[in-house]
Amino acid sequence: MSAEPDDGLNWQRPSPKLLRCRRIQVALVTVLVALAVGLATASASSVAGAVSAVGVLVAGLVAERFLARRVASWGFAERNEDLMVRRGVMIRRQSVIPYGRMQYIDITAGPLERSLGLATLRMHTAAAASDARIPGLDQAVAAKLRDQLAALGETQAAGL
């Protein structure tokens, strides 16, 4: 991954457990799809079933290789007046959300995230297209960040 200029900002990363969470997700999906595909093609011939199942497993392993880069690309930085969030490997994105424009912040956690003690923080503005999402934060960190952002948002509220 070509070095992304840091712009002198203090980029923070999600928890290292996020990689484990993503790996488990990919593994689950790969196994399920391999089973389904294998069973479907096994009706034709058992060899074809085994081959297709192995093919899906190989695809899953390849996807896992890319996971590490994707997870490493998530970052966020708290500046004085706004929050910056960056993500993505193929399509790189970086968002700037002024604190005063934050309408509300919510923290969600799916069952897998919860079992690993992680949560996803989302910031919403009045624009539907604003996508500031930080997955894989430790729950305590997420709660603290939410409170910080809410306090900053209130002092700088700018509404519509």
């Binding site: 970086q94 503005t125 624009a127 996508d131």
Partner: protein, 476 residues
């Protein structure tokens, strides 16, 4: 606020043009309220009566009773509804079982509109819609229905009263100035109020509204025919006629009927919605009146405009026509379907470039033009758009232009920017380009500065939030 109370409370003017006491709405109101349902009911009953060929008196009586029942709800509502203008407040009382009394302070009126539905227009009635500052737009006051002339006169009286009341409040200490780029020039004329008693004489002039633009029906019809729904309609008709001509099976055309009806409905709704669009400047903002069968009126306050878009479709370019739209924050206008609310409000449904330039001068406080073109290497990525991609900015707006077949220029007020995003796809990375997007409230418009040199885009990403903040601070 720590300003002390004024020694004398400001004397509020008295509206003499509106007769005192409680008034009823027009007796034909239940008919208009029942609306097209009544028509359908009467048509069905008449059809049945004619088909049966029996003029039995009991059947006719039954039919009349059914119609009377359909109208009864509206009739009861009309009986218990009354309105009054007193002490600077419009009061509307309604409700039989649960009394609902609404009061609208006239000094805080934002907009008063006279609108007509199709049935009301046939009967010569109109509805008065009132919107008050700070209130929920969907709970604005409605007087439905009055006679058209009465409704217009009442609107003029209430508007004159409201401007005089606001002028009195603005002059007295503790009153705030009226803000907005369109406000100061238009006449707020407290001189119409009698200085002695503060009474406004009957028939006082309403706020002068300067008409900025009115769409021409012929142009609108041709423009719709040349646009995408029109083209699809032509294609469907051509396909059907070709099919019938080649195979000679006219019965099969029935399968095209739903599609044809759908497209015809879209085209009709477009034409009906934007027929006679008239834009005028008033102290409260831009007033937008439009509609053929069913008229609607809307006031667009300058502070609510999130984005302005100038669209030049390829089919209109030989004529030099264009379309100017604005994206406005706020709740949907009543009676607007979801499909329509996805489209932006059209200030100029179709007009010449000169009209557009004039309207832009009225809507924008400053007009940056997109003059910074994209680097040459964008030709490899977007050969068709290459010539049109550009952006420009100043202290108030960011303007960007793009388009393959439809050339679009979008102005985004910096004070309305919600978030700024930087995006770089794999092809852009190879070419050393990236894009910046500006988000505004809602989901209809996003300002897109596409395919800039990487360093320039990153610089924009850092600078634009600061510019936006400065613009917000300036606008207060």
């Amino acid at each position: 606020m720590t300003t002390p109370l004024p020694a004398d409370p400001p004397r509020m003017p008295v509206a003499e043009g509106v007769p005192a006491g409680w008034h009823r709405l027009h007796p034909l109101t239940p008919v208009v309220r029942a609306g097209s349902r009544l028509f359908a009911l009467v048509a069905v009953l008449a059809f049945i009566a004619l088909a049966n060929q029996r003029q039995d008196s009991s059947e006719i009586v039954t039919d009349l009773v059914v119609i009377a029942l359909a109208l009864s709800g509206g009739f009861i509502s009309w009986l218990v509804t009354r309105w009054q203008v007193a002490d600077g407040v419009l009061r509307i009382d309604t409700g039989l079982i649960r009394r609902d009394s609404r009061r609208f302070p006239l000094s805080q009126v934002q907009a008063i509109d006279v609108v007509q539905s199709g049935l009301a227009r046939i009967l010569g009635l109109a509805e008065l819609q009132l919107r008050v500052a700070g209130g929920d737009a969907s709970r604005g006051g409605r007087l439905a229905c009055l006679r058209r002339a009465d409704a217009e006169r009442l609107r003029a009286e209430l508007l004159a009263y409201s401007t005089a009341a606001r002028a009195v409040q603005a002059v007295s200490p503790g009153g705030g100035p009226v803000n907005g780029p369109i406000a100061p020039a238009e006449a707020l004329d407290p001189a119409t109020a009698d200085p002695g008693t503060g009474a406004i004489p009957a028939g006082a002039a309403a706020i002068p509204e300067r008409q900025l633009f009115r769409v021409r029906s012929g142009q609108l019809a041709v423009a719709i025919a040349l646009s995408r729904p029109g083209a699809i309609a032509f294609a469907v008709v051509a396909a059907v006629t070709a099919f019938v001509a080649v195979t000679g099976k006219t019965a099969a055309t029935a399968t095209f009927l739903p599609t044809a009806i759908g497209i015809a409905a879209t085209v009709w709704r477009w034409f009906n919605g934007e027929y006679g669009t008239t834009v005028s400047a008033s102290p409260d903002g831009l007033r937008l009146n439009s509609g053929l069968i069913q008229t609607t009126a809307e006031t667009i306050r300058p502070g609510r405009i999130q984005a302005i878009r100038l669209v030049e479709p390829v089919a209109w370019r030989p004529f030099g026509w264009c379309r100017l739209e604005v994206d406005v924050a706020g709740p949907r206008v009543r009676r607007e379907s979801r499909g329509e609310s996805g489209r932006l409000r059209a200030l100029i449904p179709v007009g010449s470039k000169a009209d557009a330039v004039q309207m832009l001068a009225a809507v924008l406080t400053s007009q940056p033009m997109p003059d910074k073109l994209v680097p040459r290497r964008v030709r490899f990525k977007a050969p068709l758009q290459y010539h049109f991609l550009a952006f420009g900015s100043d202290d108030n707006y960011v303007v960007s232009s793009d388009g393959r077949v439809t050339r679009t220029t979008t102005w985004i007020p910096l004070e309305k920017v919600q978030s700024v995003r930087w995006i770089q796809g794999p092809v852009q990375r190879l070419l050393g380009l990236s894009s910046v997007r500006l988000d505004v409230a809602g989901k209809r418009v996003t300002g897109a500065i596409e395919d800039r040199a990487d360093a320039e885009a990153r610089d924009l990403l850092m600078r634009l939030p600061d510019l936006a903040r400065a613009a917000r601070a300036r606008s207060g």
